[in-house]
Subunit: 369 residues, 2 copies
């Protein structure tokens, strides 16, 4: 199913994207449609890796901007097909992040000669394990495709700038006891009972608020699962509490791990995942931030901004849709935000550079300094 | 597969029973074999209901004793086929309770004219929900088959007398919170964290020890399961703690329920099952207890003794096998205990009554008093 003309209304384009389901791992049809639509545009060079599509202008501009959006969504929750109501597009992925993808597609189609070269990346498998992530594959196989002076992740951020992102740590705290029949429970040690102090410590924990460059990164530490139980008549010998920590981007993965372990020194802690965040790093993005016209907020969730930060590319989150609606059955994106995002990004891409660090460097080079 | 000659060795008979798998609900082949073996004995009248088999002598004796054993087992745990080692029969159900069934079958076959009439009951589905229990069905459809002056449940009790049984209560304590994304956890209320005081209260609870007729019933209150978790990045909005209470037979079901609810007055408590126990009631069983030669102990688990108590029939637990091995992969029954149980029960069944309440009543009737 081909996409509608990319230059028509953004709401209709978003709906068409929603109505091409693309749960993680099943992005093929949508990737085909995106590749076909962009391939028809003479000002773009299009590459494909798996179900990720990369389209570039190559105008010899001194700056290159990367604009990225993931094609995949979480599984459907009775929220297909799309519908338009009260100026909002409802449906699976409308907010996270087919609205952002629609804006990026529209920019790609309508800006044949931007003042900055642009690399548009539409990638697969953002909602699942990091090693399946399309950006991960591109970085590994064709790193040159990701080269840019700065990157914009079109993650939902309510059409505002969300800077950096927090890191995530997941760990299992294992409390061990000893099995016994419940009719003779004193012969055992109840692991569920022993887990009480762990949960109490989590309840009493006051996460920190870490100010960085005037932004407040509010951390979090939560039990997200408790698994315990052998049988209805058995004193359980194991209770596993899975905790999810969100940590400020000023902490390294090692520091985050030490922090969580330090809270539970007497328990068995298995860290199953730890991914550092990204510092806001707005200095080299000042020109863009000003153009996007909103006071930057800190990004509290983790996004691929961290991946670009690791590659040395300053990046920010900017996209339509309320991030707190992501992954909810009722997610939607306001058409007004789609239009605003397209307008602001489009204007900035079309405008001559002024005073950015990269621009200054480029000018310095040209002036023989 | 027919059973071996019931008069041959008890260890061999137990092994044959183990090697006829009879997980709850799948007792048909074993019930067929039992029905066939007992049907061949001219001194017994045999009835069958579902996969339960009832065999009776009808000698006009003034007393009738009921000897019961369940045919079913819990699911296999890599413990089939049976094996004999160090004087023990190992294998699924060897302890709970094919050893006891073997003893009962042997008594049925080798005592054509006991001094007391005997009703042997081999029944299905003891290990599952109470309304599938074979005794439940017989009591509902042919209650006359269960009429007796006293009953012996051949549940594993280490070849000693275990009197009465404790009651069981199962309840879910539900702790509610409010969902949120873990990156903005302060927007929610973590139900797992709120569950800490429930588990702590269980940890600190000191169950009572209730003396009844010189026996100490030691109660228990345990979390047997904790279920909590929505997704790895979601603050959970519900935590369910399943508790299993064992209560002394002096408490009614209502008292047990009030007791547990009283420990958690501020929480949502859903009682999902409550089954009262059975008082030891050894007075009318004095003659039998003396014959079995062991100082009675309290039965801490729940057994069908409670069902007979509810029918007004004094009952006790007496059978080969260590009850703490029941439902374990390594369960076994010592051949020595099989032999001892057969000998003591056989001698008592063969011996003229003396001084039991029932006997005194019967004598009084005969003597015209």
């Amino acid at each position: 199913m081909p996409l509608p003309d990319l230059t028509t209304d953004l709401g209709g384009l978003t709906r068409a994207l929603v109505d091409l389901p693309s749960e993680s791992g099943r992005e093929e049809r949508l990737a085909d449609a995106v590749e076909e639509a962009l391939g028809a545009l003479p000002h773009l060079t299009v590459d494909r890796l798996g179900n990720s599509v990369v389209a570039r202008t190559d105008l010899g501009r001194p700056d290159r901007v990367l604009i990225a959006g993931h094609l995949d969504t979480v599984p459907a929750a009775g929220n297909l097909p799309s519908r338009l109501a009260d100026g909002r597009v409802y449906g699976l992925g409308a907010c996270d992040m087919k609205g952002g993808v629609a804006v990026a597609l529209r920019l790609a189609a309508t800006l044949p000669a931007p003042a900055r070269d642009v690399t548009y990346v539409f990638y697969e498998c953002e909602e699942v394990e990091g090693d399946r992530n399309g950006l991960h594959r591109i970085a590994a196989e064709r790193p040159g495709l990701l080269a840019a002076n700065l990157a914009v992740l079109m993650e939902p951020s309510d059409a505002g700038v969300e800077a950096g992102c927090q890191g995530v740590l997941t760990a299992d705290i294992v409390v061990r006891g000893e099995r016994a029949h419940t009719a003779r429970s004193w012969k055992g040690v109840n692991a569920a009972h022993l887990a009480a102090p762990v949960l109490q410590r989590l309840a009493e924990h006051r996460p920190e608020r870490v100010p960085i460059d005037g932004l407040e990164y509010r951390e979090g530490l939560n039990a997200v699962a408790v698994r315990c139980g052998v049988a209805g008549n058995v004193v359980p010998d194991e209770c596993v509490i899975t905790v999810n920590a969100r940590f400020a981007p000023s902490r390294s993965a090692e520091q985050a791990e030490a922090y969580v372990r330090g809270l539970f020194p007497e328990y068995e802690v298995h860290v199953t995942e730890v991914v550092p965040g990204a510092l806001p790093d707005l200095e080299p993005l000042g020109d863009l931030v000003a153009a996007l016209g909103a006071r930057p907020r800190p990004k509290l969730g983790w996004t691929d901004v961290a991946r670009f930060a690791a590659l040395g590319t300053p990046a920010l989150n900017y996209g339509p849709g309320d991030p707190s609606l992501a992954h909810t059955a009722g997610e939607y994106v306001p058409v007004e935000q789609l239009t605003e995002c397209e307008k602001r990004l489009g204007e900035w891409l079309s405008r001559a550079r002024r005073g950015s660090a990269a621009g200054a460097r480029a000018r310095a080079v040209r002036q023989g300094r």
